[in-house]
Symmetry: C2
Subunit: 225 residues, 2 copies
Amino acid sequence: MISDPISIEFYEYFPIWNQLTPRQQEKVAAKISFHTVKKGTMLHSGMDCTGLLLIRTGQLRAFILSREGREVTIYRLFDRDICLFSAPCVLHSIQFDVTIMAEKDTELWVIPADVYKQLMEQSAVVSNYTNEIMASRFSEVMWLMEQIMWHSMDKRVASFLLEEAAIENTSLLHITHESIANHLGTHREVVTRMLRYFQSEGMTKLSRGTVELTDMTKLKILSGT
Amino acid sequence: MISDPISIEFYEYFPIWNQLTPRQQEKVAAKISFHTVKKGTMLHSGMDCTGLLLIRTGQLRAFILSREGREVTIYRLFDRDICLFSAPCVLHSIQFDVTIMAEKDTELWVIPADVYKQLMEQSAVVSNYTNEIMASRFSEVMWLMEQIMWHSMDKRVASFLLEEAAIENTSLLHITHESIANHLGTHREVVTRMLRYFQSEGMTKLSRGTVELTDMTKLKILSGT
């Protein structure tokens, strides 16, 4: 068993560690690797089978890309979250491409896909844990689908700004209109128009590279949350 | 072990039957039930935990509903398919509502949720099988998401008509504009306008209650498939 401090920490971050057999623990411990990646690093794209990513600290963004390079964020991952779709080869039926990028400087462990796949085949605990991860991402995607289908863009921009403010714990967001558009799968012009409308209603204050939320209550009412 | 002909057939339709232990087989056999439902029957809605549905023959439609009653089809199930989301209680992390309706007269078996949940906890085979079902539905939802985000409504209507023609094995579809709109999550007027445009281009011929596909090649080119 590897016993450097960072591996010992893995045992605490990986929620089903104590439910693995000693032999399985040994195998995982021997194969995981720890990495520090800079904000903006592309961690996974297409059907590469990079491995499962377990986040120690930081933030990842999962998005889909159109042929023309348009983007839409499907979910984000934070401390202690695990990224399954960076290892699509662990399940035959995963037939879609997700791109994973570090949205902040991030420290993470990689569990190689073949090691995890073998664990899943042996252990109902690991397999059920995988089911829960997937169901949880599925729920996020279904939430997004409902947003896209039934909610107008003004509500979606308002929700996004509130979510960002909650993640960053500030009402002054350092974010470009382009980046908001890429999260929501729309064009920059649409976002700019919307933010200007919000500004005229006293809900935001716009400066170069920042959006300040000046009336959270009004934004919350608009977003319907 | 129950040995009536319809139960014996279940053993053949349930793909992992032979990988269950005799005791597990006995438990499942004692608890499954066989049902025949008419077209239009609502089989599941919201967070009810109806159980897993295994289709012998027929067709089910899974869709989401807006508060205003708008619909969008997320996937369909055919002979030998299994419906997992009619048993959301088998996984804590399923946090979304899907409605399941019979789109044709359907014969199916119901596996009670508690029986299946217990199997999943005991057996890595069952749990991995569940993972594959979920990944497969997830792939369909991601495909739909890409359609909605990147494809215009003309492409989506063309794809839908071609898919229907393939399912029904005919170019003369008995379907209303309202029903097409409910599959695609749009308004009837949008569909009517599109079909009239397709008709003016020689791709469809419209009559009361039917849409005939008169130029498959042109529709295929339009749909981008």
